[in-house]
């Protein structure tokens, strides 16, 4: 029995009023963000990571597939954007660059995703890690195109060439203007993700997470659902990576490193799995914390991030967004049990 994805997306389980309220709150938060952080670029960076995490949440939180290799799509999108703008386009035209990044990353996602999904659980995670590492070393090797360990610099400032008829020239995107564009992309991305999550498609994903065998017995082509979600999440990461490359004007191998994949998972858990909004909050908290700590402990703010992360994994695995009386009570009980055992 085949399942038409379009048909699955046509229903929605959103409850009208609270949904509108949440969307409104999101808009307010996005507008306020650049004024809350010490400098605009940090806000843009938070939004960029939030974008990756929204896609990642669909795979990890909703479908239950832990991907330890999403740096491949984040870095892949960044490198695609950098190479395209510097070697091919010459300018930082945003829309064509994003299109190229999406295509490149989607291809990677299909290939790596297909390979990785041959297995489940920890072996799936290992495959995502191995494929991401493979990409890392291939990129490192192709020095002439990618700059190897030096990375690439000189990525042009992003601009919106489509607005030329209105403004006479391409609109350069920097600072607050760039933030506005990226934040709009995130907003659209979150809406799309929420729509998917709240549709029959999303419910099927959660079914796969809870008991894939049963989903198969019920007639769902789980392979297709998983692959589709995986590739979709890779596209989110690709767009985000492209934006980062354009904002920073440079890319480096660290964007493809597996430790970045780990950092993404950290932010995801801290924010809250399976909520779409949660991961965005996770990005906000982690990046802000790191910004604040790196002033004092230049080398080792990761130490404190790690400690906070361990705390959450042990006691509050549902993350910040799912913080309510139930999870707090559960957390307190776990803490008590731990103290009891140690004593």
């Amino acid at each position: 029995m085949t399942t038409k994805i379009s048909a699955a997306l046509s229903g929605s389980y959103e409850i009208g009023r609270s949904h509108v309220a949440r969307i409104a709150a999101l808009v307010v938060a996005l507008i306020a963000l650049p004024f809350v952080v010490p400098y605009v670029e940090l806000g843009t960076e938070i939004v960029i990571y939030a974008m990756v995490l929204v896609g990642l949440d669909l795979v990890v939180g909703y479908t239950g597939l832990v991907s330890f290799g999403h740096a491949a799509y984040f870095g892949g999108g960044a490198y695609a954007a950098a190479i395209f703008t510097t070697d091919v386009l010459g300018t930082g035209a945003l829309l064509p660059t994003l299109a190229v990044a999406i295509v490149v990353v989607a291809i990677l996602g299909i290939v790596f995703g297909y390979l990785s999904l041959r297995r489940t659980g920890v072996y799936f995670a290992m495959l995502t890690l191995a494929t991401a590492e493979l990409l890392y070393f291939i990129v490192k090797q192709l020095k002439t195109i990618t700059g190897g360990t030096d990375g690439l610099t000189g990525v042009p400032t992003p601009e919106l060439a489509v607005l030329r008829p209105i403004f006479g020239d391409a609109v350069l995107l920097e600072g607050l203007r760039l933030y506005a564009v990226v934040a709009s992309l995130l907003f659209v991305g979150i809406l799309v993700a929420r729509r998917i999550a709240a549709s029959p498609f999303g419910l099927t994903l959660m079914t796969i997470r809870e008991n894939e065998e049963r989903a198969k017995f019920l007639g769902y082509n789980t392979e297709r659902y998983k692959l589709f979600t995986f590739v979709l999440s890779s596209m989110y990461a690709g767009v985000a990576g492209a934006c980062l490359a354009l904002m920073n004007g440079a890319v480096s191998l660290s964007l493809l490193n597996w430790t970045l994949s780990g950092d993404l998972l950290i932010m995801l858990i801290l924010g809250g799995l399976g909520t779409v909004f949660g991961p965005a909050a996770g990005a906000f908290v982690v990046l802000l914390m790191q910004e604040a700590l790196s002033a004092q402990y230049a080398q080792t703010y990761q130490l404190y991030t790690g400690l906070v992360f361990i705390f959450f994994v042990l006691f509050l695995p549902k993350g910040l967004w799912n913080l309510n009386r139930k999870t707090l009570t559960l957390g307190r009980k776990r803490l008590e049990r731990l103290i009891q055992r140690v004593r």
Binding site: V122, Y123, L127, L265, Q299, I310, V313, L338
Partner: protein, 292 residues
Amino acid sequence: MVDTGFLITQLVSGLVTGMIYFTIAVGLSMIFGIMGVLNFAHGAFYMLGAILAVSMFSIIPNFFVVLVIGTIAVAIFGAITERTLIRQLYDRDPIYQLLLTFGISLVMINAAQRWWGTVPELLSPPQSFSGLLEVGPIILPHYRLFIIAFGLLTAVLLWFMLEKTRFGILVRAATRDDTMVAVLGHNTNVIFTSVFALGAGLAAAGGILIGPLTGIYPSMGMEVLITAFVVVIVGGLGSLTGTFIAAILIGEIMALTSIWWPAGTNIAMFTLMIAVLLLKPEGLLGKSGVVE
């Protein structure tokens, strides 16, 4: 063509690398096999052993003493970690254990960077093994031969433990079905902690052994970890011999590619790992049916 003497030296070097990876991977494999925990902190234990050794050396300038103390110290540390932190997550989705160990490794490595420093240091090799063995054109430093012997001895001792002792039988049984072992009245908690401690200690020994060869620095843990995973996957779960063979295989791949295609080492390794995961997921000598 490559000079034969050089080739053999490289092969020996690959064997040395393989032995080091064996000490790291064997613990990782056992921990994964028994507890289903992919211990991301294993690289940090490797680093911890090395750093403790180098720090102790100023007080106790004896390589072997430092080796023994370091191994035992990290084993104890591993046992404590397992008992307090990791045990909390046995009743949860295995993914959380993976994430927890990842977090622990971050904390350990960053703590080392903060309180020990980031400048690489070399550990002095033992005086008794500072000579060279010359067989024709081939130069074999005594210390490297020592590492090879150490690796072989460890493998043999582990084999003996697993096959011939009661504890070993329990470990092998727990790899297959730990619930059943518990139902039959054995204390699986003790088994888990012991295996974890053993694995951590061995990893630390590996770190101390490599001290004189390459520099010791906090992030060395992260670098070996991924390769150790490759070894574990290729060798197969629940197989001591498999891990041993895979470690030597990977070591030799690294040595040989460094001659003809230096940058290709990692590409070759990960292609191998992906191939194994897809074609024979239980690894070269692992038992099928353990993998989904």
